[in-house]
Symmetry: C2
DNA sequence: ATAATAAGTTAGATTAATCTAACAAAATTA
DNA sequence: TAATTTTGTTAGATTAATCTAACTTATTAT
């Protein structure tokens, strides 16, 4: 069994690899807010446990075993977020910190029951895919809203940044998963977009926002 | 903030004081399966933090602050057990181990929502009282079934032992909280009882069992 | 291509929680 | 009450996870 702390390293490695491709000690250190020497020594430990493929001065990689275990932790995290939103009426901006703790609970029946009560969901409240029971994750190929063109109509499928501030920003503008958005115009200078959806005819979204919104084309 | 480990010491002290009155180092050590010198040094630490009133060679006592904090942990534990049984359809014999972990979650809104969804329950699935938001606990004065007399009809109010084995024993005999039990006879030799309830006309319960069942007289 | 900067590692200290071995105090028994 | 047993404490070692300081390797810029 892995400690809670080891689990946090595995999860960070998994998420960072999905976001950025290669992961190095400096980035992992920054993400976890843990100094580099500590990260190095933990990488050696996880390498002993065959969870990480570690070579000095090389990028950090999870082994297959490491990916599976990290995937299962993320599965627990995302199932929990879904449960908190769907069954406990908490807001999508509130659930991350709670799920961050509950993901470390050791109890297969607990998470299986969650899964069952939720009807075996495939994505969490932010549109991120929930890994399956073997820890595997399938990313649908979404587009960033910022890569779409004037005149297109798209469906809000997921959000990249799940910080509370960003999610509140979306809440304030009545933006939810599944929302249909029409791109009215794009400002060439700063790439901001004017979009319409629901009852809103002309909302302005900055490029920073548009880069964090993933959409599906019809 | 207290560590998870400190929380476990506080909880054990609180529970043991409720069960037995005075608590000493040996018992606490046995309960937590932690060696005595470790317990002694933790008592000194918790004493520094004003959670425990510690004097060498004296019985261990929680301070008012310690009682409050322990009560709040037990509140989280029991609310969680209730939630798992009522809202997640888990059996009362399965919930203890999960609640043991969830009780350490730091998130006021999470537990307030649980409380709200459950309709502000006063007892957990084993009939144990749930401490209020200030950590205070009110024990109803129940009787042990073993102290009742032939001919009495009583209501199953709580169980003392919450081990999985005992709860499965009760499940197998269709015994639940609220059940009305009539005492048919008491065997003088071993104090075992023949009782009837529901569709069962003559169940034999050993004294070991009867001592762990708390009842209300009508 | 060399110097400067950034990234990564090694060595050694620190903290929290644990342990064992040895000792001391309190309670029990003879 | 003295001896024995039980209970509790002290001293010192250990482990996991962290840190800082010093050093090494790799990358970038001149």
């Amino acid at each position: 069994m892995n400690s809670l702390i080891e689990e946090n390293y595995l999860k960070a490695l998994f998420n960072m690899a999905n976001e950025a491709g290669e992961v190095n000690v400096t980035e992992l250190s920054r993400r976890l807010e843990i100094k580099m020497p500590t990260v190095t020594s933990m990488m050696k430990k996880l390498s002993e446990k065959k969870l990480v493929l570690y070579e000095s001065y090389k990028p950090l990689r999870l082994s297959e075993k490491g990916k599976r275990e990290a995937g299962l932790i993320i599965r627990k995290h995302r199932l929990t977020e879904m449960f908190l939103v769907e069954k406990m009426q908490l807001g999508w901006e509130d659930v991350h910190d709670i799920a961050e703790q509950i993901e470390h609970i050791q109890s297969p029946v607990f998470f299986e029951k969650m899964d069952e009560l939720l009807g075996y969901p495939k994505v969490d409240p932010h549109g991120s895919p929930i890994p399956d029971k073997s820890g595997k994750i399938v990313w649908k190929e979404y587009n960033k809203l910022s890569d779409c063109l004037e005149g297109e109509t798209v469906k809000l499928a997921a959000v990249i940044n799940t910080s509370s501030d960003f999610l509140k920003f979306l809440n304030n503008r009545e933006m939810r998963l599944g929302l249909k958005i029409k791109i009215r115009s794009i400002e060439p200078f700063d790439k901001s977009m004017v979009v319409s959806y629901g009852k809103r005819q002309a909302e302005v979204l900055s490029n920073v926002v548009c880069e964090r919104i993933l959409v599906e084309r019809e």
